[in-house]
Amino acid sequence: MVDIIVCAKYAWDVAEIKIDPSGKPVLEGVPRRISDIDKNAMEAAVNLKEKHGGTIKALCFGPASAKDGLKELLAMGADEAYVVEDPSGGMLDTAATVEALAAAIQKMGSFDLILCGEATTDGYTGQVGPRLAGKLGIPQVTYARSLSLEDGSVVAERDLEDAYITVKVSMPALVSVTREINVPRIPSLMAILKASKKPMTTWKLEDLGLSKEKLEEVSTLKTVKLEGFAVERKRLIIKEKPVEEAVQELVSNLLKEKVLGV
């Protein structure tokens, strides 16, 4: 039996962000969804539960509308879901996020394992997992590409880019997973129907003994400028010429643009 909490972000769909003529990114109307890698974390949790039994709770610090995203995690296999409402509209930094998540986790009761994605698909800071482990005072394993339980301990293979390292850690612990760990399931119609009957709890910061002001105090990272930049296409066309010359020109251009070579 293993009791798991999966932390998930209701992230902006960055592919849908447009840049207005003045160079500002337009966030209004941009759809949100659960950050991709957090779904890998949920899939990993479901796999562990299927093998060892236990419970899965999904937790999100985000807008009230995050409930729509959490429904997907419930359909994937979470037993219940919690939203802590963020009154700032996503403008707080990772320290404040961790403050809110930690307070929620303490209120949620005991757990064996916290899983999260290695980073979110919008902010991509990769800080929330490690900071959360620090705040809760539990061991952490980052960048796990595989995960299993052995005699009450977590065994994980970490992806360090130029090497893999297998580690074993006692629970309770926090593990952040990579995209490679699994392929998140697409919930079936029946699973989606069942998910609608699962409990969903919404907390305000005040329910956790926190406040907007308190989080703003913790949130030391200030956004001073927000601007988008568009990458223009080069629109280079190699006109009809002998194949050898055309290839030469193509290769030299690719080298110049550092697409090829080092």
Binding site: I186, P187, S188, L189, M190, I192, L193, S196
Partner: protein, 429 residues
């Protein structure tokens, strides 16, 4: 595992499905609305004119809360040839007052609004799930199959749009024929709101609609251009058999279109933000399948409910009307506790009462008119050439209009052929 059963399952959260789900949920029935897209409207591409009076009957004063773009007050029919264009323009300021006549809509927003109404009324919406098949027992529809799951209902309402796999599964129609199917492509071109107001000479919140005839390399089809709040929807609908015959691709046709001076000026300075394609059924009444069987009703584009009479291309209003008629039929069946084909056949009479089928009958000859290639090639050319000749002055003896026309017709179309065609237009419209 406990069996999942609803009173009604509606497949597809477009205007037809959401209307049916809304009306049934409002009456207290348990309704499951299944949508294949990530959200309602995600898989939709209609150019986007919805005629308002019929929608107003189901959702009174919907324009006050629904995300409509512009009230259409300027209607245009354009004949294209070479680099010239002949336009017939009708402006009607009265169409800017409630209950209006038509609105341009962007389906991604509009469909979400309508699905939201169904959800508010108590329907359960599941998105991102595909319905693969029907659950049949003794030839009766008992539910739907999605992946490995079976979900049951007294009635399944099919509102899945033009591809309508389930109509086939229910045994209500066979496979499609290329001559019966058209392909539509649409681009959304973004332009500032003020530029659109000025360029199309419309008041605030008002918009223009264009039906374009000709200029498609002789392919059977036509074009449309609608003004949204701060974008234009430009599209082409072409018959698949005709595209195959002429060996052209529909995306080439839309590129051609954009090069035509008439169109290029309207879209100038805009940036393309969306491109989509879909299939349509323009064959009218003869293409409409049987609309019901035991435990099953077909609505909207799945039932090929579409009217193209060259002036207007109606689909969404018929979808809403058919969704409403289906809901009424299901409510009656629920009262009787009998969901057999004979009870559900009331659906067809409701579709007559609200004029969906009678309007389809009125324009049932239009598809034959479209079979006549001259409508898309010779006549737009002839009209434009006649205008050119009427307006040009040469240092040569001039001619009266009808003689000019006879001259121009030489080698293009015979007088009797033309008169015959004119008679067919008269009968069809």
């Amino acid at each position: 595992m406990a069996e999942e059963k609803f009173d009604v399952i509606v497949v597809g959260a477009g205007p037809a499905g959401s209307t049916a789900a809304y009306m049934l949920a409002k009456e207290g029935l348990s309704v499951l609305l299944v949508e294949r897209g990530r959200q309602a409207g995600a898989k939709n591409m209609t150019g986007g004119i919805i005629y308002s009076r019929i929608v107003h009957e189901v959702f009174p004063r919907f324009w006050e809360e629904a995300p409509v773009e512009r009230a259409i007050t300027s209607y245009n029919i354009v004949f294209l040839n070479g680099r010239s264009a002949l336009t017939l323009n009708f402006k009607c300021p009265r169409f800017a007052d409630p209950p209006y006549n038509a609105f341009s809509v962007l389906r991604a927003k509009f469909d979400q609004w309508m699905a939201g109404k169904a959800e508010e009324a108590g329907a359960m919406i599941v998105t991102g799930a595909t319905v693969d098949d029907l659950v049949m027992e003794d030839g009766k529809v008992k539910g739907i199959r999605s992946g490995g799951d079976e979900i049951f209902a007294d009635v399944v309402i099919d509102a899945e749009g033009a591809k309508s796999l389930l109509v086939e599964k229910a045994g209500l129609r066979g496979d499609f024929n290329p001559a019966d199917v058209s392909v539509g492509v649409k681009e959304v071109v973004e332009l500032p709101e003020e530029v659109i107001d000025e360029r199309f000479a419309v008041g605030k919140g008002e918009g223009a609609a264009f039906t374009l005839i000709g200029g498609l390399q002789g392919v059977v089809g036509g074009g449309f251009l609608y003004t949204n709040k701060s974008s234009l929807s430009l599209g082409i609908v072409a018959r698949i058999d005709s595209l195959m015959e002429k060996k052209v691709k529909v995306h080439e046709l839309i590129e051609d279109y954009k090069m035509h001076p008439y169109i290029s000026r309207l879209i100038e300075g805009g940036s393309i933000v969306e491109y989509s394609a879909a299939i349509l059924h323009e064959r009218g009444l003869r293409q409409v399948p049987k609309l019901y069987t035991d435990g099953f009703l077909v609505t909207g584009s799945a039932a090929c409910l579409l009217i193209n009479n060259l002036f207007t291309l109606r689909g969404m209003d018929l979808a809403v009307a058919s969704g409403a008629a289906a809901a009424k039929a299901v409510l009656r069946a629920k009262q009787k506790g009998d969901f057999s084909a004979s009870t559900l056949s009331a659906y067809e009479s409701f579709l007559r009462e609200n004029f969906v089928l009678t309007d389809m009958e009125t324009f049932s000859r239009v598809p034959d008119l479209m079979d006549n290639r001259r409508v898309f090639t010779v006549y737009p050319e002839l009209l434009c050439l006649l205008m050119e000749s009427l307006f040009s002055v040469h240092p040569a003896p001039t001619m009266k209009a009808f003689r000019r026309l006879r001259e121009l017709m030489k080698g293009r179309v015979g007088l009797f052929e033309a008169l015959g065609d004119l008679f067919k237009v008269y009968r069809a419209l």
